[in-house]
């Protein structure tokens, strides 16, 4: 793993939803979890991938000629990518596609190049309350050496840093990152270990342990680091009263409440439906309805009742239009 180069699939500027203030969110590619509802399916594989956006395609077929592994086919329904056997995600097709219908997801960024890019919005960060950079993904700690270097340089430039994590990481490496981290956005998706395995392919045991460990570490070492907990509220899976209640109890009893600044319930959204299609993947939530405002308000109430500091609970995201 390199501390100089990372695979990143998106850089979103003027982000208002990934931590405090105005931020630039850097999406690192690769994730250890496979959440069945994942909103960023393109983030899971650590390898670059290619996708085809039909509405942009002008059917010029130039891509067929440039692909070194013969992985593309032009059919009635457009360009088909042979992902299993041939496509290596090299991106030559995307580079040559005149209309950007083929896109490479995941590009290599050299660290100085990335720093230059994200510092462009410093004026906006500094004028907002704790604005700065969020490392998201995927799971950015899969590229921890780069991340440490990245945050270190950002701190040298006085930029607020936030880590958005699913909680699966190497504890020792994390200890090297924490000195350069101002905030952690930490996902607790599901409190029941069995269900967590069903939903994400991974037990939540380490995730919860890691969080307790960090909470204690911050407390004992008096680090001014803040934590925001995030819980995705997904229909028929995590959107259960008992799940919310028990996550609340966990926060109350296991974590230092002066460190946890916020617990955000994020309502399910279906905007990623097309992403699955483009990656030739099925999505079991493709027909699921959005939650209603009253659903979200009920979960928020449950969450508040479970906490000693109910004011830290909020909810966000799309809801059904009545």
């Amino acid at each position: 793993m390199s501390s100089q180069i990372a695979t990143i699939f998106e850089i979103q500027r003027m982000s208002t939803e990934d931590g405090p203030g105005l931020r630039t969110t850097v999406f690192f590619k690769g994730c250890p979890l496979k959440c069945i509802w994942c909103h960023n399916p393109e983030s899971i594989s650590i390898h670059p991938e290619v996708q085809w956006i039909g509405s942009r395609c002008i059917r010029c077929k130039l891509c067929l000629d440039v692909c070194p592994s013969n992985a593309l086919n032009h059919t009635k329904r457009g360009v088909v990518i042979n992902r299993q056997q041939r496509c290596e995600g090299c991106g030559k097709c995307a580079l040559n596609c005149p209309s950007n219908a083929l896109e490479q997801i995941g590009k290599k960024w050299e660290i100085n190049e990335l720093i230059h890019e994200v510092l462009k919005d410093s004026a906006y960060f500094k004028n907002s309350d704790r604005g700065g950079i969020t490392a998201s993904g995927g799971e950015s700690t899969l590229q921890i050496h780069f991340l440490i270097e990245f945050f270190k340089i950002l701190k040298q430039n006085n930029i607020h840093t936030a880590l958005d994590t699913c909680g699966v990481f190497n504890k020792e490496a994390m200890m090297l990152l924490l000195p350069y981290t101002d905030m952690i956005l930490y996902d607790i998706k599901e409190i029941d270990p069995e269900k967590h395995i069903t939903f994400t392919g991974y037990s939540n045991e380490n995730i919860l342990k890691n969080l307790i460990y960090i909470s204690n570490y911050i407390t004992y070492n008096k680090i001014p680091l803040k934590i925001w907990i995030r819980t995705p509220i997904i229909p028929n899976t995590t959107a259960r009263a008992d799940n919310i209640r028990r996550i609340g109890m966990f926060i109350s009893s296991e974590l230092n409440n002066s460190i946890v600044e916020k617990w955000e319930l994020c309502s399910f959204n279906n905007l990623c439906k097309d992403k699955y299609l483009r990656l030739d993947q099925d999505w079991q939530f493709k027909n699921s309805d959005l939650l209603t405002v009253s659903d979200m308000e009920q979960f928020t109430d449950i969450a508040k009742k479970a906490l000693a500091y109910p004011e830290i609970v909020s909810w966000s995201g799309q809801t059904k239009i009545d």
Binding site: P98, D121, Y124, K126, G131
Partner: protein, 840 residues
């Protein structure tokens, strides 16, 4: 179906609130449009001579939609004109004296004085088409200069037909010296004029200078005599009024008018009354309802009167009530053509700007109680078009003001005002002193007094006419000429008759056969030469209308309110103002930059095609070249993404045309040209004239708007977009060695920048704080002025389908706000396309 979908959206359209019965009635009455018994539509007046003319087409050379109607306007205003009984010496007087006398006679003796129920301000009818007061000889001379083979009209039509843009000496677009008119009253102005006149020699008194001053003296008594009439009218109404409260109001109004604007006001009510009469008579004097006739720093020079009245016990709400009446009056400017067009004469916007807040001397913030009272008025009255507020923000703007600004943006559909950013704007004014040679007039100590006119064009106040919308040049024309060795890529037709227009010879330089260019630098060289050529062409075209106006269309009343005119004995149309620039705005800035970037990318850097192929592609409007077109559109670099390399090219383009612009002066009036970046609605219409461009745009698609990136190009979001804008205006120095602090700005007139946000960005207090941070960041990194649109595409599509249900839906385009349903389908589509920074 409409009934099902509409209620949801209608809730999100802002409604006026907290209005008294008086103001609700006046506002509702105003919006009845043609249904009103009273209105302020044009009336026409003649000397009675058979050759008389009222309509002056010169002022509309920058409104190409009007070209087809010039003759109709001229004859119909003449036909409907009522004859004025002339003074026996009328024809012995000079032209300015004739005009001054004629206008005064119409306003005071012929127009009825009318006051709407409950109105607290007098001054109703002012939209006039009055005789130009020419003798037959003058008319013949003037007409030959306009209609001759090489006349002004042929020139402007050729200029427009060939996709150069447009250019013409236009009215309005300045800030009169209201502060002084309030301080010394018209009596004081009259006395000053008289003093200057008396000091002239006998010969001078009878000469050009003297007659100009005499004309101005006549004009300066117009407000006095009109106020007396209105005062009498109030008294008449008082006699028959039954309501005791109203009776008292009318009595006070009568008293006010027996004093102001001839004597200086003391109370706020008097000051607003005086200001309104002074302002409305400018529109009468110029026969031009509103556009750009702006008020300047409204919350500064009215503050003493506000404070005086508050101290004397005026209820703050009553003060606001007076302002609200003023608001209604300003909107009656639209009545000029109330029976023409689809929306009762309410067109895209006239731009009677008021300026609020901003820096003062020693960089102190000038926000005061009146600023907030006015913001409340705007909030309670909107949506309403006039007067248009500009709020000046800077690094030390108070948080309370910023919160109010953000709240108002959140509760309206887009900001009900335009935001000016002081640091960048002031740097531009300093550029003007350096490049324009007015170091004694714009200094470190007074530059803070600048204010915008029209949409966002920055000028000084009370002594400045800088023709802020007079020249509008399509920069893209230079790319076309460079691609064709000084010829044109397509055959240009008359926009009205559809006949080929070769009335004037194209004399562009031969800059070399582009097919033979081996390097990008060779192409750049050709482009530079053609840029210089089109600027020269614009200057020549302007000279035609400018010189005719200077000779035949004096505005002696307005000249009384512009410092320099009396001292020089020159009308403001003759360049009398102390600061007298004319502004050259470029249209299609981003389209031009992106075209250059595409040529470099496609032909020189990557050799995707030869120059010859690219040129054939453009000639065929990309037909048969869809792959190349896609590369140009989607693969070539673009301005507006905070891409340093693309923005470097954009800055080079900016330096080239602005430096060239500063080189020229008008011959007839000695006004220097200065650069501006406003493209009103031309970026839409001129897109139908100019051929396909190398950036992938087809003929018939829009050009880019002012300083905004090309439509769809700003895929990196609002901060990237804003950073690009700041960079190309000049960027910042790393230390304090900018033109103002560390800021540079090549565009003194200002650059119109519109960003459309998704309303979700303001959904809760936390997000409002984030938006506030964006505004502060914009002040550091962005441009001179920002319009914020806050739209929901779904709502707009519904508004397209059901315009009748969305009459009050406001959008802002290029510096002015407009009712969405009153703009054309193409613009509507454009607004929708920009929402939320969709990729293209």
């Amino acid at each position: 179906m409409a009934a099902v979908t509409l209620p949801k959206y209608q809730q999100s359209i802002k409604n006026p609130k907290g209005l008294s019965d008086r103001i609700s009635w006046l506002r509702d009455y105003y919006f009845k449009g043609v249904g009103r018994n009273w209105n302020n539509e044009f009336t026409s007046w003649t000397t009675g001579t058979p050759w008389d003319v009222q309509y002056d087409e010169l002022t509309y050379y920058i409104v190409p939609e009007n070209y087809a109607f010039f003759q109709v306007m001229r004859s119909s205003f003449h036909q409907t004109a009522r004859t004025i009984e002339l003074h026996e010496d009328f024809w012995k007087w000079s032209l300015p004296e004739r005009r001054a006398w004629f206008n005064k006679e119409v306003v005071v003796e012929y127009l009825p004085q009318e006051i709407l129920p409950g109105d607290l301000i007098c001054g109703g009818r002012f939209n006039l088409q009055t005789s130009r007061c020419w003798t037959e000889k003058e008319l013949k001379e003037r007409d030959s200069l306009i209609y001759g083979k090489n006349g002004a009209r042929a020139k402007i039509k050729w200029f427009r037909n060939h996709g150069f843009g447009n250019s013409g000496a236009t009215s309005g677009h300045l800030i009169p010296w209201h502060e002084k008119a309030l301080k010394i009253g018209w009596k004081g102005i009259h006395a000053e004029l008289n003093g200057i006149y008396k000091k002239l020699s006998r010969k001078e008194q009878d000469g050009k200078k003297g007659t100009q001053l005499k004309a101005m003296m006549i004009a300066s008594t117009t407000p006095r005599d009109l106020a007396i009439k209105y005062s009498q009218k109030c008294r008449e109404l008082m006699q028959i009024e039954k309501d005791e409260n109203r009776k008292k109001e009318l009595e006070q109004m009568s008293k006010n008018l027996s004093k102001v604007p001839w004597f200086p006001p003391e109370t706020f009510w008097e000051a607003i009354q005086a200001l309104w009469l002074t302002h409305m008579l400018i529109m009468s004097d110029e026969n031009y309802p509103g556009p750009g006739t702006s008020f300047g720093r409204f919350d500064q020079y009215l503050l003493p009167y506000w404070e005086y009245s508050i101290k004397k016990g005026m209820d703050r709400e009553f003060g606001k009530e007076i302002l609200k009446c003023f608001w209604i009056h300003a909107n009656t400017a639209y009545d000029a053509f109330i029976r023409t067009g689809g929306n009762q004469g309410i067109t895209a916007g006239f731009g009677q700007l008021i300026t609020l807040s901003g820096l003062g001397q020693n960089e102190i913030d000038m926000t005061n109680d009146l600023t907030y009272a006015i913001l409340e008025v705007i909030d309670e009255m909107s949506p309403i078009l006039e007067p248009k507020p500009n709020i000046r923000l800077h690094k030390n703007s108070p948080e309370v003001l910023l919160d109010k600004v953000v709240d108002m943006i959140a509760s309206s559909q887009g900001a009900p005002f335009l935001i000016n950013f002081d640091e960048r704007a002031i740097a531009g004014m300093i550029t003007e002193t350096k490049k324009g040679g007015c170091e004694t007039l714009i200094t470190k100590d007074n530059v803070f007094e600048y204010a915008p006119v029209g949409c966002l064009e920055n000028t000084m106040v009370g002594n400045d006419r800088s023709g802020t919308v007079d020249n509008n040049l399509d920069l893209l024309k230079a790319v076309e000429l460079a691609l064709s060795n000084g010829k044109e890529l397509i055959e240009y037709k008359d926009q009205i008759t559809n006949k080929i227009d070769n009335n004037i010879k194209l004399d562009a330089p031969n800059t070399g056969d582009p097919n033979l260019f081996k390097t990008w630098e060779e192409f750049w060289e050709a482009y530079s030469k053609q840029t210089k050529y089109i600027i020269k062409k614009c200057v020549e075209t302007y000279e035609a209308s400018e010189s005719i106006r200077a000779k035949f269309s004096p505005t002696p009343y307005l000249s009384c309110l512009v410092k320099g005119c009396a001292e020089k004995g020159l009308d403001v149309t003759e360049g009398g103002a102390e600061i007298s620039f004319t502004t050259l705005n470029v249209i299609s800035y981003a389209t031009t930059v992106d075209s250059l970037l595409a040529i470099k990318y496609l032909v020189f850097d990557n050799k995707f095609c030869s120059m010859e192929e690219l040129i054939s592609a453009l000639k065929s409007n990309w037909d048969g070249y869809r792959i190349l077109q896609a590369r140009a559109k989607y693969k070539a670099p673009k301005y507006g993404r905070d891409d340093d390399e693309a923005d470097r090219m954009a800055k080079q383009v900016m330096e080239l045309w602005t430096n060239e612009t500063w080189k020229y002066n008008t011959k007839s009036t000695n006004r220097k040209f200065r650069p501006g970046l406003l493209s009103w609605n031309y970026w839409v219409s001129d897109g139908y004239i100019l051929p396909a461009s190398p950036d992938g745009r087809e003929k018939g698609q829009f050009l880019s708007n002012a300083i905004c990136p090309s439509n769809g190009a700003d895929i990196s979001g609002p901060t990237a977009n804003s950073n690009s804008v700041g960079k190309v205006l000049g960027g910042k120095a790393s230390d304090e060695n900018g033109d103002f602090k560390n800021y540079f700005n090549m565009i003194p007139s200002g650059a119109s920048h519109t960003i459309t946000f998704n309303p979700a960005i303001l959904k809760d207090p936390e997000h409002k704080d984030k938006f506030k941070a964006f505004l502060k960041g914009y002040g550091e990194n962005g441009g001179t002025a920002l319009q914020i649109n806050m739209l929901d595409p779904e709502m707009l599509r519904d508004a397209q389908k059901h315009p009748q249900d969305y009459r009050h839906l406001l959008v802002r385009i290029t510096g002015y706000n407009a009712y969405f349903t009153s703009i054309g389908k193409e613009l509507q589509d454009e607004v929708i396309a920009r929402i939320s920074h969709n990729k293209f």
